[in-house]
Symmetry: C2
Amino acid sequence: MKLTTKGRYAVLALTELALAKENSLVKITEIAVRQNISSTYLEQILLLLKNSDLIIGVRGPNGGYKLSTSPENIMISDIVNIVEGRMEAKGCVSKSGSCTGVSGRCLTHDLWDELSRHIELFLGQISLKDIIAGNVLGRSSPPKVLELK
Amino acid sequence: MKLTTKGRYAVLALTELALAKENSLVKITEIAVRQNISSTYLEQILLLLKNSDLIIGVRGPNGGYKLSTSPENIMISDIVNIVEGRMEAKGCVSKSGSCTGVSGRCLTHDLWDELSRHIELFLGQISLKDIIAGNVLGRSSPPKVLELK
DNA sequence: GTATTTCTTGACAAAATTACTCGGAAAATA
DNA sequence: TATTTTCCGAGTAATTTTGTCAAGAAATAC
Ligand code: FES
Ligand code: FES
């Protein structure tokens, strides 16, 4: 998986939008200043999210951004997938070229595959609403269940 | 989290060691050739694992590496943590400096924290033995449990 | 002891990725 | 028209990842 500041900025920015009053517009610079992020960098990121229709941009004076749907419908995995590019379990560089080849999977292939799936599952369960509600902890499956398995 | 080829090489190399006959030594070059990895690069990686006492290096003719303990006692999280450096949920760059500051946690803090914990938990449940046994799939907690929650 | 094999160590260089900047265009408002 | 804001493409700087090199140390075989 890949998780850089880009992804974190994106989630942070969208929490700000989620926090704003319904249908009100938030400017890039507002977010950038408040979060101490480069505003031109943030532009790039929000543009990606806008092109994927996760947010809506309005130009002109008093313009800005807003979420295209309500916070509970936007999952963190959506956001991260868009800005970081699809999480690829690129896999190993076995003799037979790329990992995707069906023929020669190495022993660790399933491991990384499963890890990716696991992460995606986790982030796919948490919405922007959960975040602004502080409803994140305890979301992970309880360890005891797995120990018993 | 951080997961680069370094971590994947490390796990791959250690599966090779786990696959070898008990107490037999495997040379760096053997692994490097078989997996098509730069042998000098692999040196670096195995050195880290050796300095953390996960593996044992024996010099001289017919030398090589072997696991310091049995495969079921070595968890993937151990390996990754060593070579990639401890997975840090570095967090955001809020106004008040670093994320670690107790004072100003942003809303996303818990999210990344929990994600890290989740990943570590997952990789901490899978041993080298599981990998060579192909016993990785189905390790993740079943989705339905979480849906019910 | 000498030669050979193999790990050990540290410093260095190439390549790739990430993070960020810049200059301007397009749309909306006033 | 002038101003504000998003949109867009390209380019640069910084950092990290990946890999190389050269020299040394320990063990073994002869
Ligand atoms: S990771 Fe090795 S074949 Fe896919
Ligand atoms: S991630 Fe924002 S304060 Fe820790």
